[in-house]
Symmetry: C2
């Protein structure tokens, strides 16, 4: 059983790393760390699924030339863009998470990785919430107008897309709490592990 | 010079607390902690100012019976409510912050205080951003309609209110980073101080 501390800073595992270090963690601690990383991974997968679904729902929300199209509305374009960005980012972070669970090391150097994850989580969570709120306000305004009377399915599909975006935001926000905790661990202990 | 650790958990200062403790902090450390608390205080004051200004701007945005009134629009009501809540909360947190700077102890028991601050900062920051985004989307939609043609000053004042709300969000977000860091310190060290 190797210590996760041994493979910090993006090092590739090498035989001399297997020696016991002063930071040696026992099996229970290792299991806890693995659970922490798995939790992050689950949040990433869920955020990815929801935001991808949201952007697909929005992107397919056009019904021929006579009816309204989603890209004619600023707020809906914003919803689509934000969800696509978050889906791409979550996909990348899923890869990073799998890499960390399987090798025990971070993909980028550790200090870069923890700040990268936290910074992007925060910014993208706010971006996604902002887009979804704007989308909600627009969808609500449209409700009373001719747009929704003429093509009700357009409005329903927009609502679903925005709702999926909110679900994506929820899981991105949870990831951001965990990655924020890793940053704090790094600042206090000089390592992303709190144990 | 007394140690700030000595007055944790909402204790009232008593003479025996002045004995040196194992957690004794020197003057440099104390100065750093004071600077950290002062920074939080500055963020609180700024967030309070902006969100109060925003809600006042929104609440005074009615011009007689003929012209549009802010409370006829859902999103503007949301902007007003969110900004008022944040202004009240920031006022309370300013008091907490002054108390902590002057006595060195937290107002509530420490574990409650750090989680209260962080939880409310996070939730209210997202609430405020959500309200302001919804307000922006509505303000943008109104631009092209009769509402803004008939009463341009109504739209301008709404824009200003939303913009002030965004500024308030910025400073609340910064406070939330600092209070999140205190929670992490508390989880790792059993104290809100990282030094």
């Amino acid at each position: 059983m190797r210590s996760p501390q041994a493979f910090r800073n993006g090092d590739t595992p090498s035989p001399h790393h297997r020696n016991p270090t002063p930071h040696f963690h026992n099996t229970v601690t290792l299991r806890k760390l693995r659970r922490f990383n798995s939790l992050i991974f689950v949040f990433r997968v869920t955020a990815f699924t929801f935001s991808l679904a949201s952007s697909v729902f929005m992107a397919t929300n056009s019904r021929g030339s006579g009816s309204p199209r989603w890209f004619d509305f600023d707020a809906f374009r914003f919803v689509f863009a934000a969800n696509s960005i978050v889906a791409l980012y979550s996909l990348f972070e899923m890869g990073v998470s799998v890499w960390e669970i399987s090798t025990g090391a971070t993909l980028l150097p550790e200090i870069l990785q923890v700040w990268f994850d936290f910074g992007h989580d925060q910014v993208f969570a706010y971006l996604l919430l902002s887009a979804d709120s704007a989308g909600t306000a627009l969808a609500k305004t449209l409700k009373g107008t001719d747009t929704c009377t003429a093509s009700n399915s357009f409005c329903v599909q927009s609502d679903i897309s925005v709702a999926l975006g909110f679900a994506g935001f929820l899981f991105l926000g949870l990831s951001s709490l965990l990655s924020g905790f890793r940053v704090a661990c790094f600042i206090i202990n000089g390592s992303r592990f709190h144990l």
